[in-house]
């Protein structure tokens, strides 16, 4: 979340970025999905083993989701699979968020721990309608569950295959003199998805999509939705109110440190989570939001900075909540100070 507010808050809605990081060759693309997105390249250009049964199951899920919104009569949905960007992911950090009063959910899956069962960590925020300075802490439900290796392996394979898929929507061939209908369907449901996979060595991939749920961008959006759902099913049904712990904060930090513009509803959801999860290394990422045009955003940024810095400047000596302008100025001053020496 290193991008400052401003244009970010008003940018175009649609973005897809998929890339291989580290030492692997870049296979990233930033494009609209239609008409024919390229299949993700194989890591290092090498081939990979395809699990036909798995890909058939993933294709069914993808096809149904695309079909549900496709509006052009006779359109054919073609699905193919490339090689997963990360051959054997052992760590996943992912989020989904919804505008229009929706929620923000985060998932962190780590299979590299020494215990026999892998740990899945899920967090869900129900955003406040009107956040207050020094108000109640954010409403978070969470779950930390250990799942058998087989369940984890299957979810990771399913998600990886979905992310390696390419979807094309083919229209019926035009007939000279014939009549044709072409249609696009859209909703007011705005959604954002991010999935980061980390594997052995320097393998990693980051996939992101945000926009309104519609038919035109379904080929870009649906693979991430299906991947998210496979992963979220590992723990999402077990959420309970609870206090955040250090691994929650570490997962939050990983999400916040990802570069790139985010929709305002995602930024604000993450800032609100920051009141419970922000840590000192995130102060540089949080500070630019003190300049956001929205009072709501600035309020959330201040609450996150109070947690991140461990210094609460929101109240005066008598304990009364200070005006937002005074508090933002105070935090600007605080973060501008050189760090204290500890020698």
């Amino acid at each position: 979340m290193s991008a400052p507010p401003g244009p970010v808050l008003r940018r175009a809605a649609f973005a897809l970025a998929v890339g291989l990081l580290g030492l692997r060759p870049t296979a990233g693309f930033a494009a609209r999905p239609a008409p024919a997105p390229a299949a993700p390249a194989s890591p290092g250009g090498a081939g990979c083993a395809h699990d036909a049964a798995l890909e058939a199951a993933v294709a069914r899920a993808l096809r149904k989701r695309v079909r549900d919104l496709e509006a052009t009569p006779g359109a054919r949905i073609e699905i193919s699979f490339g090689c997963p960007a990360v051959s054997e992911p052992h760590h996943v950090t992912a989020l989904i968020a919804h505008g229009h009063g929706g929620s923000l959910s985060m998932l962190d899956l780590d299979t590299a721990r020494e215990s026999a069962a892998s740990e899945v960590r899920a967090l869900r925020l129900q955003p406040a309608r009107a956040p207050e300075l020094a108000g109640r802490p954010p409403q978070i439900t969470r779950a930390v569950v250990r799942r058998p290796a087989d369940a984890i392996r299957h979810a990771l394979a399913f998600a990886s295959a979905a992310l390696a898929s390419s979807i094309r929507v083919e229209l019926p061939a035009p007939v000279p003199g014939g009549v044709q209908t072409i249609a696009a369907r859209a909703t007011t449901h705005d959604e954002a998805l991010e999935i980061r996979l980390v594997g052995p060595g320097d393998q990693s991939s980051f996939s992101r999509w945000d926009g309104y749920v519609d038919s035109v961008h379904a080929p870009a959006r649906v693979p991430l939705e299906i991947a998210w759902e496979a992963l979220w099913d590992l723990a999402g049904g077990r959420l309970r109110p609870g206090l955040a712990d250090d691994p929650d904060r570490a997962a939050y930090q990983r999400v916040m440190e990802d570069d790139g513009a985010r929709p305002r509803f995602v930024e604000e959801g993450l800032l609100e989570l920051g009141a419970a999860l922000a840590t000192r290394p995130l102060v540089p990422s949080l500070t630019p939001f003190l300049e956001a045009p929205s009072e709501r955003t600035r309020t959330l940024a201040v609450n996150a900075l109070a947690t991140a810095t461990g210094t609460d400047l929101r109240r005066d000596a008598a304990g009364a909540v200070r005006p937002l302008a005074d508090v933002t100025a105070a935090y600007r001053g605080l973060v501008a100070q050189p760090p204290a020496r500890h020698d």
Partner: protein, 166 residues
């Protein structure tokens, strides 16, 4: 070249929204509006003279399956917010109707691709305006901004349905 609306641009009421117990998306949304930009046309021409579009008819319609409200969440403010999303779509639908008939190509394949590109571009335009609307109004929570957007869209309508947007 013709356009129709189902319902009319300002005809959206709660009766168009099916009432659901919880969001079908599995999230906490309170309401959703789904709509479609639909273009039906005939391919006209020949390989010698080139191809164009004839008998173009554009329809903007609500999609009942994608239009819902969570029980107990109906409010005038929420309806007004959703209504304006649809009005924006109808205005962009008018643009589609204006531009569709002018498409030409050396083959019917080219005309089809041009029509598809145009419909997708109009879909994106409606959504981009909708995103600015959602951002400014905080998804309808900011009453002052909601009024500003209502006036802005009314101005577009009163100015010959010309959408003054980048």
């Amino acid at each position: 070249m013709s356009i129709s609306f189902r319902p009319l641009p300002h005809g959206v009421t709660w009766t168009h929204f099916r009432v659901v117990k919880t969001s079908p998306n599995g999230d906490d949304l309170m309401a959703q509006t789904g709509y479609e930009l639909n273009a039906t046309f005939r391919y006209k021409g020949s390989d010698a003279d080139g191809y164009s579009i004839a008998n173009a008819a554009v329809t903007v319609k609500l999609i009942p399956a994608d239009t819902w409200v969570v029980a107990g969440k109906k409010s005038a403010a929420l309806l007004h917010h959703e209504q304006l999303h649809y009005v924006i779509a109808t205005l962009v639908g008018r643009e589609l109707d204006d531009e569709l008939a002018a498409l030409t190509g050396d083959s019917s394949d080219e005309v089809q691709q041009a029509a598809r590109d145009l419909i997708q571009a109009k879909n994106d335009r409606a959504l981009a305006i909708g995103q600015a609307y959602d951002d400014d109004t905080d998804h309808g929570e900011d009453d002052a901004q909601q009024k500003l957007w209502l006036n802005r869209v009314h101005d577009w309508e009163h100015n010959g349905n010309q959408v003054n947007w980048p």
